[in-house]
């Protein structure tokens, strides 16, 4: 698992207080991990802080699963 994936999973586990084994790539923040709309905003802000990147609102809206976040941040931090 990539370093980015590890850090993303850690943030999700900590923020949502869910079991690590639930935080799979295809886990949907709202449907599978019990996040509400404010949680998703807070997660995006936590990702921005952790990775020092800015996630625009339209990109944030397309991040609905753990895998989406990892793919976005992999790209954002590679460039």
């Amino acid at each position: 698992m990539s370093d980015v994936a590890e850090r993303v999973r850690k943030i999700v586990i900590e923020h949502l207080g869910v079991d690590a084994d639930k935080v799979t790539d295809d886990a949907n923040f709202i449907e599978d991990l019990g996040a509400d709309s404010l949680d998703t905003v807070e997660l995006v802000m936590a990702f921005e802080e952790e990775f020092g990147v800015e996630i625009p609102d339209d990109a944030a809206e397309s991040i609905v699963t753990v895998g989406d976040a990892i793919r976005f941040l992999d790209k954002a931090t590679a460039s």
Binding site: D36, L38, E42, M45
Partner: protein, 245 residues
């Protein structure tokens, strides 16, 4: 009841009468306070009265960059920020036909836009800690209007609408967002009203007297307290019966 020991608060406009009274009342209940304002001498003298658990953070709320850095500065000074009191406000009265854009813009910037930016910044930490109190000092004229104050009344009405929206957004995070709406309070701001305005306003007050800054501060203490944990999105009117709404 109403014990706030160990809590932290940022009070804007603390160099004014109502802001100073709010800072003193919070401090008296055990709160560590960061006091902000434009008049450094008044802040220093307030800090000397309070002695301990007090930090001076001068800030001109008309300056967006200064506004953006105020909450981080308060969090650095206090450790966390539990209570934000958006008290700062100014007036630039004029009949609307004569009102200049600058008068309108300045009042909205300081009274409303700065309050929003501070709330937005404070909510980050509050949401993380699952506790927070945001209290806006609005005004009775935000609800009933006042000739010569279209800018001020708009900013205060805006604060009430903003408060309700913020309250709904963060209600599940242990954060409450409320307003206190003073009526006619003896302060430097009401001393600037001309005699005609004072008489017109006082005639509307059922109690027939001006209120005190301490009477406003008491409402802030209530809303900041654990006892008010189920109260959110509300406006608590402190106006001696001037407007029963």
């Amino acid at each position: 009841m109403f014990d706030l020991s160990g809590k932290t608060a940022l009070v804007t406009g603390a160099s004014g009468d109502i802001g100073g009274a709010i800072a003193k009342a919070l401090h008296g209940r055990g709160v560590s306070v960061a006091i902000s304002g434009t008049r450094k001498a008044a802040l220093t003298s307030l800090a000397e009265t309070l002695r301990d658990r007090v930090h001076i953070l001068p800030c001109d709320l008309a300056n967006v960059a200064a506004v953006e850095s105020l909450v981080p500065e308060a969090e650095a000074a206090l450790g966390t920020l539990d209570i934000l009191v958006n008290n700062a406000g100014l007036t630039r009265d004029n009949l609307s036909l004569r009102m200049k854009d600058e008068e309108w813009d300045l009042v909205l910037a300081v009274n409303l836009s700065a309050a929003f930016r501070l709330a937005r910044a404070a909510l980050k930490g509050m949401a993380r800690r699952r506790f927070g109190r945001i209290i806006g000092i609005t005004s009775v004229v935000g609800v009933i209007g006042n000739p010569g104050q279209s800018n001020y009344a708009a900013s205060k009405a805006g604060m009430i609408g903003m408060t309700k929206s913020l309250a709904a957004e963060v209600a599940t995070r242990g954060i409450t967002v409320n307003c206190v709406a003073p009526g006619l309070i003896e302060s430097a701001m009401t001393q600037r009203l001309d005699e005609k305005q004072r008489a017109w306003l006082l005639a509307k007050v059922a109690m027939g007297r001006f209120g005190t800054s301490e009477e406003v501060a008491a409402a802030v203490i209530y809303l900041a307290s654990a006892e008010a944990s189920y109260v959110t999105g509300q406006t608590l009117h402190v106006n001696g019966g001037m407007a029963m709404i």
